[in-house]
Amino acid sequence: MKGIWAITVLTIRDGIRGKSWLPLIVAALFCALLLWLGFDHRNFGSGKPQLGNFNAISSLFYFWSWGCLFTAVCVGSASIPRERRTPMLFTLPLTRWELALGKLIGAQLLSAAFLALGFGLSSGLAVLSGVPVTAYSGLSFATALTVSFVYLCLSIPLGAWLSPVIVGTITVIAEAQSTVVEGMAKAHLISGNGLTKALGYLLPWTIPGEPIRGAFFHGTHASGADFAGLLLNAFFGVIFFIGLTFLMRRGELSMRDSS
């Protein structure tokens, strides 16, 4: 437990010092610019600006969340490769379990704090504007949290073998595959049910992105089943994390080939 806590604190400090909050600033500035121009994420390409409290606040949370998720992918993908490159933590009396779990907890706490900040900001604006903060808004926050958690569950242990860019790519593809495959099937780009099913078994995540897009829209509702679905996805993340960390607990990790 001592080792896990030490790594958790180190990860949070590294994340803050490493300016992992920068994507949030970029996302917020991007959002402010779009809103100022009269656009929100719902009418990209439509050419019809619809500035309104509902969409504007939802857009703020939407862009903020993607900033957080981008941060989570970057932090998760680079965390173990960094240790392999300049082995400091690997020379200390820490098990690889402690290392991976400490990094997961630290990165998730960091990501959750950033998301909570964005959600708090958006909710505050909503309340000030008289927009109701509903259970659906809570679902959007929980969805963003789940996505970041799954990203981290995959990217941290995968970093034991792969480079950050490959880890990041694999992680995003693994999580988004159901949406991508579904979209491709709808566009008749793929037809085989077998492939869809196989991918579904192999990479079981089916996290709907819609709640993140419309956190503060009217007429959208959330049910207990939606939250249960997110929990199931998080559970799959935990299973993958345990499996991958189990594989990395022994055996040599690729260090820089200096002799």
């Binding site: 020379t91 009396p93 055996g251």
Partner: protein, 297 residues
């Protein structure tokens, strides 16, 4: 003397068929200071990384305190201090970095920490990114020492430092530690480092241990024999001399590094080659290192 660290027939390669270490074997006893010498790429870093369990040998075995560093890494790492040239220091300040190490090591010696910080003139509040290379290495040393390790592994600990910082670092670290009976294995490609520190020298060359002798023995009992090329056509004749460690061509001569005093080696050469023109001299350790590990010229 109890062996603290044992390498037995260790081989390791990064690419198939290109060995970095090939059958390396030696042991380090309790309280011994061993300098691991070799040119760049000789396998020094690989061997030290194997000792701390960062790399696995392809074949052979490594025992640290009688344990395998890969099978029981925690038990080994608790008792080992490690400083390397490329070590990254994490944390905003020295105090934060030290606190992280103190938290992980229950046996942390705060009195030693304080005395080393004073000795190196380091302020706890100093920012890590503002430290000079030499200061950063001193901080790494404090982190490696204050849990009172029984074995210290230094991988080019003074690499990249200017001559003054280099000397200060080595004198402060290795002498201080050795006085307390800590076992030390340190790698370097500077013979002067080894000469200053004393102890034993293990020279790695061509993936193997080429020389494993006490520094005083090397000074007194190894010499360089210079034989004109015209006198000996086949270097095998020199190589077959008892105690011959290496023969290489150097301009118009053969240079042979031979165990024995210059007088004794000279006599041996006269009697086996049957002619004169042979010179045997003592050379500085730096020269000897070049003769043993350098290429032909």
């Amino acid at each position: 003397m109890n062996a603290i660290l044992e390498f037995e027939n260790v081989s390791r390669s990064y690419k198939r068929g290109v060995p970095v270490l090939d059958g390396v074997g030696f042991s380090v006893g309790q309280g011994e200071v061993v300098g691991l010498l070799g040119r760049n790429g000789a396998g020094k870093t690989t061997l030290i990384k194997i000792a701390i369990g960062l790399l696995y040998p392809d074949s052979g075995s490594v025992r640290v305190f009688g344990l395998s560093p890969t099978a029981e890494p925690i038990a080994v790492k608790k008792r080992v201090g490690y400083v390397s040239e490329n070590q990254e220091l994490r944390g905003a300040t020295i105090a934060e970095l030290i606190a992280f190490h103190r938290y992980l090591f229950p046996m942390w010696d705060e009195a030693l920490e304080k005395s080393l910080l004073d000795r190196f003139g380091l302020a706890r509040k100093a920012k890590i990114r503002h430290l000079s290379k030499g200061q950063a290495r001193q901080v790494a040393l404090i982190c490696a020492l204050c849990h009172r390790p029984e074995l210290l592994l230094f991988d080019e600990p003074a690499g990249g430092l200017d001559p003054v910082a280099r000397r200060e670092f080595l004198e402060a670290s290795i002498h201080l530690l050795n006085d307390e009976g800590t076992t030390i294995l340190f790698s370097s490609h500077h013979m002067t480092d080894v000469e200053r520190i004393g102890g034993r020298v293990v020279l790695l060359d061509e993936h193997r241990v080429k020389l494993d002798r006490n520094i005083d023995h090397i000074r007194e009992n190894i010499c360089l024999a210079i034989v004109p090329l015209a006198s000996v056509a086949d270097p095998g004749v020199l190589q077959n001399l008892p105690g011959c460690l290496r023969v290489r061509k150097a301009h118009a001569d053969w240079h042979a590094v031979v165990e024995g005093t210059p007088e004794v080696v000279h006599q041996k050469l006269i009697s086996s080659l049957g002619h004169n023109g042979v010179r045997c001299i003592r050379v500085p350790l730096e020269e000897l290192f070049i003769e043993l590990a350098g290429s032909e010229r």
